[in-house]
């Protein structure tokens, strides 16, 4: 397969970006120069002896920034791949984990798990995320199939219900847990840690790998149920095979970082603008560019002010107007809506 220059850029950029992101942060004690020196010495590029603040630098770079950078990147990839897969699966360029109610459902599941520590966080987020997508779909399902707008309306209803339930959990828990839940709901990466990376990276890698294998089949599915069946695939089975990992990775992201809104909607569109709709291209570019996008936004969110703005606020503020633009545009194109 030939790689275009554009694609090469997407695949190469993440590495220098990840390294550069290690230099970004609010610390007054350790500056970029210290980190650079430490890096060159660690990689044996410089013969100079270890500096005095070696431990401090290592604590900040390896203990705080590296897990955060990895988490931001993997969540960006996961949300983008998930959104792109949902859009192919539902043949609807306007859906995403947030629009389908998945994020609210997973957030509710995770909030219950936070409020009642006996319940496991990841599985709760996954079960309620899946439940939410299923509900949105069945609300939108009519004899004639599922229309673009009815699916969005179904998602809004389901999203509303789970947000209400989430608020109820917040209302009923004690103030200490309440704060945790509220902060986490906003979509936050500031308490990233190696344990969070460990708990989320494996499920995300697994789900992304699964969807990566199925990337060409998404082209088949995206053409329609009857067209899929006519060429020898069972559309119901194929959709389920995509729906499960797509829900899995999005809810894993929600479980670890809360609701980082609109990434799953807006970034797949940016990717398609650059590669065209062929999922054999959009899927790998989504992995690279989705991670790049969220990492850049996160770098801004932790440096732009002296205190940290939750990243979910940022992404939603960017993504909201983008969604309105897409909706207007697609309503002009698809009159039958």
């Amino acid at each position: 397969m030939k790689l275009s220059f554009k694609e090469m850029v997407f695949y190469i950029i993440p590495l220098p970006l990840i390294v550069a992101s290690l230099f970004v942060g609010p610390s007054n004690v350790v500056n970029a120069r210290d980190i650079f020196d430490w890096l060159t010495r660690s990689l044996s590029l410089s013969p100079a002896p270890d500096a005095q603040n070696k431990q401090m630098v290592e604590a900040i770079v390896l203990g705080v920034r590296l897990p955060r950078v990895l988490l931001a990147f993997s969540i960006g990839s996961a949300l983008t791949v998930s959104g792109n897969s949902f859009q192919a699966l539902f043949r609807n360029p306007l859906v995403s984990p947030d629009i389908l109610g998945l994020s609210s459902g997973a957030a509710f599941g995770a909030a219950i798990a936070l409020a009642f520590p006996l319940l496991p966080l990841q599985p709760m987020a996954f079960v309620f995320g899946l439940l939410a997508v299923g509900l949105s779909y069945f609300l939108a399902l009519t004899r004639k199939g599922v229309s673009t707008v009815s699916l969005i309306l179904g998602g809004i209803i389901v999203s509303g219900i789970f947000t209400a339930l989430l608020t109820m959990v917040q209302f009923l828990t004690d103030p200490f847990k309440l704060q945790t839940i509220v902060h986490w709901t906003m979509g936050n990466l500031h308490n990233a840690s190696w344990s969070k990376v460990r708990s989320s990276v494996l499920p995300i890698l697994f789900g992304i790998g699964w969807l990566f294998v199925l990337r060409w089949r998404m082209n088949v599915i995206a053409l329609g149920d009857e067209e899929t069946r006519a060429v020898g695939l069972n559309p119901e089975k194929e959709k389920l095979l995509i729906l499960i990992p797509a829900t899995f990775i999005a809810s894993a992201s929600v479980a670890v970082a809360g609701m980082i809104g609109m990434v799953g909607l807006a970034v797949p569109h940016m990717v398609r603008m650059m590669t065209g709709p062929d999922n054999t291209k959009t899927q790998p570019v989504s992995i690279a560019f989705g991670g790049t996008f969220l990492l850049i936004v996160d770098n801004f969110s932790r440096t732009i002010t002296s205190f940290e703005i939750p990243i979910g606020i940022f992404t939603t503020l960017i993504g909201g107007p983008f969604f309105i633009y897409l909706l207007k545009k697609s309503l002009m194109v698809y009159r039958e809506l």
Partner: protein, 251 residues
């Protein structure tokens, strides 16, 4: 025998659509099904394509029970062209045609699949369209792309459901000439068509449907016999002799 249907009954929830259908479509021939709107033609052709489950009756494709075929086996025997549709994403023509290979592909299409796609595009003569987004094409061009997709699938029989309904006269003629050409090369084609005149000029064998029954044509009788067609369409039809056949017109 290409396809043979025996004693097939079919209905949706509360409505019987097909009654005791028995028919045969010969291998290497162009069989046309004619009938009024709502007479069950489209349902019949979907059943013959293996796209709908049925309980009563029997459908045999090249000697094999259609219900015992896996989806992939079925797709390699039977291609099906549905009526006009419009995908949500602007896939390129060659990407759309390539999806015909789905029953041969596990993860990514291979060299053989790309070769078959090129062949199909050549055969249909749409090389100039291959890099164009499918969504920007006219109805006639889309239909050609979809038939290329069916050819890439490599079936031995193609079932067409009103393939001409969105085409202008020139594109209709082009499409039918292409179908004739494929039939001449050994492909079996069964099509639902609207216009009896087109059907009589291009088709080899004919079947008439009315209210879910096959009602003809009777043996030893021309299919364009006005009395038969008057019965099929439920409106008075007359015939005018033309090049050894007849043109039929409602009057």
């Amino acid at each position: 025998m290409g396809i043979s249907v025996k004693n097939l009954d079919f209905g949706y929830a509360d409505r019987r659509v097909l009654h005791n259908i028995s028919l045969q479509a010969a291998e290497g021939r162009f069989t046309v099904i004619l009938g009024k709107n709502g007479s069950g033609k489209s349902t019949l052709i979907k059943l013959m394509a293996g796209l709908l489950p049925f309980r009563t009756g029997y459908i045999e494709v090249f000697g094999r029970d259609i219900r015992k075929l896996t989806s992939a086996e079925r797709a390699r025997l039977i291609g099906y062209l549905s009526q006009f549709h419009s995908p949500a994403f602007p896939f390129l023509v060659e990407e759309v045609v390539l999806t015909g290979r789905a029953s041969y592909v596990f993860s990514l299409p291979g060299r053989e699949d790309l070769r078959k796609t090129d062949e199909a595009i050549d055969k249909v003569g749409i090389n100039h369209l291959r890099q164009r987004p499918y969504t920007e094409l006219s109805g006639g061009e889309r239909q050609l792309v979809m038939i290329a997709r069916v050819l890439a699938q490599g079936p031995q029989m193609i079932l067409l459901d009103e393939p001409l309904s969105h085409l202008d006269l020139a594109n209709q003629a082009r499409f039918l000439a292409l179908v004739k050409n494929l039939v001449a090369k050994g492909l079996t084609v069964v099509a639902v068509l609207h216009d009896p005149n087109t059907a009589f000029f291009y088709g080899d064998d004919f079947l008439f449907m009315k209210d879910g029954f096959i009602i003809g044509p009777e043996k030893n009788k021309d299919p364009w016999d006005p009395s038969t067609l008057t019965e099929v369409y439920g409106t008075k039809i007359d015939a005018v002799p033309f090049r050894g056949r007849s043109l039929v017109i409602p009057i």
